[in-house]
């Protein structure tokens, strides 16, 4: 089993949010996704820093897409989860599951 760099909780959430969009997703959308589904306020500063960190760890990659006037002509960066990213999520899930086994009633 390959060991992947440890995933922080927020990183885990961000990865999951990106994973929901197989065609790639840009920053604002990830932020909205997290706010709606995880019910937490997401600072865009923290979000972009995390995206960047995840990219550095090799869990995310991105491509740019030119965009229209609603963005003032600024390009969109579309993030997708890499294979390593998916593996890291799986590993995280396994850890959660194995630690939760037998104490389901308490949860």
């Amino acid at each position: 089993m390959t060991r992947y760099a440890a995933l922080g909780e927020f990183e885990h959430l961000v990865l999951l949010a990106v994973l929901r969009h197989t065609e790639g997703v840009f920053g604002s959308r990830i932020g909205r996704e997290l706010e709606e589904r995880a019910r937490r306020r997401v600072s865009r500063g923290a979000l972009y820093a995390t995206l960047d960190r995840l990219e550095k760890k090799g869990f995310l990659s991105w491509t740019t897409e030119s965009a229209g006037p609603e963005r003032g002509g600024h390009p969109r960066r579309l993030f997708t989860v890499t294979r390593a990213g998916r593996a890291a999520i799986r590993q995280y899930g396994r850890a959660v599951r194995s630690l939760s086994a037998g104490i389901e009633d308490l949860l």
Binding site: R44, A46, P75
Partner: protein
């Protein structure tokens, strides 16, 4: 407004722009629901993004190296500003080192590296003669050979012959003495001088029958002719002969140490002076020809000349037995040759000072770095990597180094004029010295190298320690790693070693200087005044007339009030080297093929040896009656007597100029030695003494000496310049007087280049010593401050303060002793480079080594004593509280 703020923080690459785009898009989305809330949201998030701009943009791959660097520089600036005392001390230390190197390098650059000011100067050469068979190392050329070479050579574009001299020029009322040169027609085109006013010489100007013409220097044109454009075509008197000015040489030629007036040689091409090796030949090589090749091509021409026209048996013998051949030297090499060694030594010296300065700053950085250990450890623990920390330390060093170097170069620029004024004129091209692009480039390189030296040492050293150390230990104890102390001690020892090398070097030079200053010169330069006076052949035609003038002048000078003695000579010691010629010695017949010895000679009037206080050791001095025809007596020096008549009484021996006799005019009678004179250091304190023959004025068969230097002696002689002028005017109102100086000045001048080198080396050594002392002081002070608590405990437990003091001082002494030993070994090797500059002092002179070691140790003890006293004065109570 926020957008601009954001853009500025993030930069403008596509990552930054995509983030801004995201915010914009979402803002537009949110604004559809609640515009005010959207605006609040945007403000908050933009701020959040801006705050984390670096972790969003800067940590990305491919982030611009420049921006990274600028951020580092900014941070370094902030850090340095927080510690102004450290920054100022470190920057000034660097400034001192870089400034010193910049000054000396700008001299080296202008004197040794930059080409001479001639066009295509690298192709300009001097052509000399050498005659290894006669032990003649290097001497000038003879016109007959030169003209033959010029006609048949292949390696040169052009060649010219020249001979320096002095002429009396009269323009208007006042005659003036003008530095002059006799030159062949192609002189100016060989040098590449193009005339804006008038014309250079042509072949038609350079024959015995040509109208007399002259070219004047730009300098003379401005000074004497008031830069009058009509100067070309004017007629002046040169040594009494009406001469027309046909051209003004270009201004840049004045910067080459050239004379003020050029006159054609007026050789008869059919019968040029033969065997007269007193002319300097110059040449411009064809492109691609090297000096040695050119010399090889000239060599066979000597044999051809002997086959073609040289018939005099003496001349032939000279060329054959001497294995005569021409040699070709690059002109630059000849000009800067003597200055090369001292200048490189100086550059090496100041380089060492810079190195010491760097070590000192490295030391300061080490001390400071230890204070920042916790900061760095935290950085490492939080995921900062070692490379990043080293990088930011190096940036700090670089910023420090740049500040120091800028100050240093400014210091150099400010002190350069002073240095040029102090420097001896014997350093060629010294007036050209300035700070140019190359100097700045070198200064920039020094800046980077220094930063690497004093930045890398602490960076590498203590980040290695850190990784394990600081966090685990915490507290003060952790900052006292023994390994770090070792590092600092080593640096201080290195500084001491280098200071030792410089001290020994300057000590040796100082010792030589004292030896030279007190050397037995053979004359007493004090209480004298000298003046050069030349009598022109137009007014004083015969040798007898010349001598009458000389006798009258010497006697009238002697009669001046307050003057004890007066005399004159053709070759005042140090000021001018005497001529040498071949002499036959009575009773020493030559073997066939053996050449007569070359002996130096000069002319002295009666009274000269009294005026210079050169003792007559046996026989008697000249008196004026000895100048009558047919008396024919000479004096010789002790070396001559010892060398040619060992264990014999030289009085009564006879000498005569060798050869001659073929021409009616050429009288070469025998002269009888009537006295022996004490040896005189004719060419200066450092030069060996050669055999000398002294003739009285008007001696038959000896060249007329029309230019004599008159010497007067008296308690107030130095102030008698006006009296000399007045006396000369009273005899002949038209005679110019050149260079009135005391002999003391002449002697001092001959030592000025040496004393300049010594002074500079001495200053460098003192600076090195001070820097070393400061280094030692700061290391011990720091050690004491770290041990405050420990020393306090010891004192509280009853340790005697004297013992604490001794322990600190002995630590300082130990460090400097190590440095001293290394330095002594280094000096052993390096002082050999000074050998050629030393005078009667061995490069390993034990006294100098011992004395300098003592000085160094004394300074080191003093530097250790101050922190030691502080340690001994620690109050146990205080130390516990801190």
């Amino acid at each position: 407004m926020f957008r601009r703020f954001l853009l500025r923080r993030l930069g403008s690459d596509h990552v930054a722009r995509s983030v801004i785009g995201d915010l914009d898009e979402e803002f537009a989305d949110r604004a559809r629901l609640d515009r005010a809330a959207a605006r609040r949201w945007y403000r908050r998030e933009a701020f959040a993004v801006a705050m984390r701009a670096r972790s969003i943009v800067d940590t990305r791959r491919g982030d611009s190296v420049l921006r990274q660097f600028l951020t580092d520089v900014q941070m370094a600036g902030r850090t340095l500003m927080k510690q102004p005392r450290f920054t100022i001390v470190a920057a000034l230390t660097i400034a001192l080192g870089v400034g010193a190197v910049t000054v000396i390098f700008s001299v080296v650059n202008s004197v040794l590296i930059q080409p001479l000011p001639y066009p295509n100067a690298s192709r300009l050469v001097n052509i000399w003669s050498t005659a290894p068979g006669l032990d003649y190392d290097q001497f000038p050329l003879s016109p007959d050979l030169f003209l033959f070479f010029e006609k048949h050579q292949t390696g040169f574009e052009e060649m010219a012959l020249r001979q320096r001299g002095r002429v009396n020029m009269t323009y208007g009322e006042e005659p003036t003495v003008v530095q002059s040169a006799l030159v062949t027609a192609k002189h100016f085109s060989t040098l590449g001088a193009v005339f804006n006013q008038g014309r250079p010489f042509t072949a038609a100007d350079d024959t015995p029958k040509s109208v007399r013409v002259a070219v004047i220097s730009h300098r003379l044109w401005r000074r004497t002719f008031g830069a009058n454009p009509g100067a070309v075509g004017l007629s002046v008197r040169v040594d009494g002969e009406p001469t027309q000015i046909i051209g003004v040489a270009p201004a840049w030629l004045d910067r080459t140490g050239s004379p003020d007036m050029w006159l054609p040689t007026r050789f008869n091409p059919e019968d040029p002076p033969a065997g007269n090796f007193g002319w300097n030949a110059i040449g411009r090589l064809k492109p691609g020809v090297r000096p040695d090749d050119a010399a090889k091509q000239l060599e066979p021409l000597v044999k051809r000349a002997m086959e073609t026209y040289i018939s005099s048996p003496n001349y032939r013998a000279f060329l054959t037995n001497g294995r005569y051949r021409p040699i070709v030297h690059s002109m630059k090499e000849d000009i800067v040759g003597d200055a090369r060694e001292p200048l490189w030594i100086l550059l090496g010296t100041v380089g060492m000072v810079l190195l010491i300065a760097c070590l000192n700053v490295a030391n300061l950085c080490l001390v400071r770095a230890e204070g920042r250990q916790r900061e760095m450890a935290v950085r490492l623990a939080l995921g900062g990597n070692r490379a990043g920390i080293i990088r930011s330390l190096l940036t700090e060093a670089l910023v420090l180094s740049v500040i120091g170097s800028v100050v240093g170069v400014l210091l150099a620029a400010a002190s350069l004029p002073l240095l040029i004024r102090l420097a001896p004129e014997s350093i060629p091209r010294i007036e050209e010295v300035r700070i140019d692009g190359l100097v700045l480039l070198v200064a920039a390189a020094l800046t980077i190298v220094s930063a690497l030296i004093f930045g890398l040492v602490p960076a590498v050293r203590y980040t290695r320690q850190l990784v394990l150390g600081a966090l685990r230990h915490g507290g003060r104890g952790a900052t006292d790693h023994p390994a770090l102390h070792r590092g600092r001690n080593l640096l201080v020892a290195g500084q001491t070693a280098m200071a030792m090398v410089l001290l020994v070097g300057s000590g040796l030079l100082a010792r030589s200087f004292v030896r030279m200053a007190t050397a037995e010169l053979g004359f007493d330069p004090r209480s004298t005044l000298t003046a050069q006076i030349a009598v022109p052949p137009t007014t004083y035609r015969s040798g007898a007339e010349v001598m009458q003038f000389e006798q009258r002048l010497v006697q009238q000078l002697h009669d001046l009030p307050g003057i004890d003695a007066a005399g004159a000579t053709s070759d005042l010691p140090i000021q001018s080297g005497p001529s040498g010629t071949a002499f036959d010695l009575d009773g020493r017949p030559l073997e066939p093929g053996q050449l007569p010895p070359i002996i130096y000679y000069s002319i002295v009037t009666p009274g000269y040896f009294v005026a210079t206080r050169t003792p007559i050791t046996s026989g008697r001095d000249f008196v004026w009656t000895d100048t009558r025809d047919g008396v024919n007596q000479v004096l010789v020096n002790q070396t001559m007597a010892k060398q040619y008549w060992p264990n014999e009484n030289p009085i009564g021996k006879r000498v005569k100029r060798a050869g001659g006799g073929d021409k009616v005019k050429d009288v070469r009678p025998w002269f009888t030695v009537m006295g022996v004179v004490a040896d005189v250091r004719q060419s200066g304190p450092r030069e060996p003494i050669n055999p000398m023959i002294y003739f009285a004025p008007n001696a038959p068969g000896i060249d007329e000496f029309r230019s004599l230097t008159y010497v007067i002696r008296g308690p107030q002689a130095a102030t008698q310049a006006e009296a000399i002028r007045h006396t000369v005017r009273a005899i002949d109102a038209d005679l110019p007087i050149a260079s009135i100086r005391t002999m003391k000045e002449i002697v001092d001048e001959s030592m000025v280049q040496f004393s300049f080198t010594m002074l500079t080396l001495g200053i460098a050594a003192v600076v090195a010593l001070l820097l070393g002392a400061v280094g030692l002081y700061s290391v011990l002070s720091y050690a004491v401050s770290l041990r405050t608590r420990e020393i306090g405990v010891r004192l509280a437990l009853g340790a005697a303060p004297g013992r604490v003091l001794r322990s600190v001082v002995s630590r300082g002494a130990a460090i400097s002793l190590v440095g001293l030993a290394i330095g002594a070994v280094g000096a052993f090797g390096l002082t050999r480079l000074l050998r050629s500059m030393l005078f009667e002092t061995a490069p390993l002179d034990p006294l100098t080594f011992a004395a300098m070691a003592a000085v160094l140790l004394l300074v080191a003890l003093l530097a250790s004593y101050l922190p030691a006293r502080r340690a001994a004065a620690i109050s146990p109570m205080e130390s516990m509280r801190t």
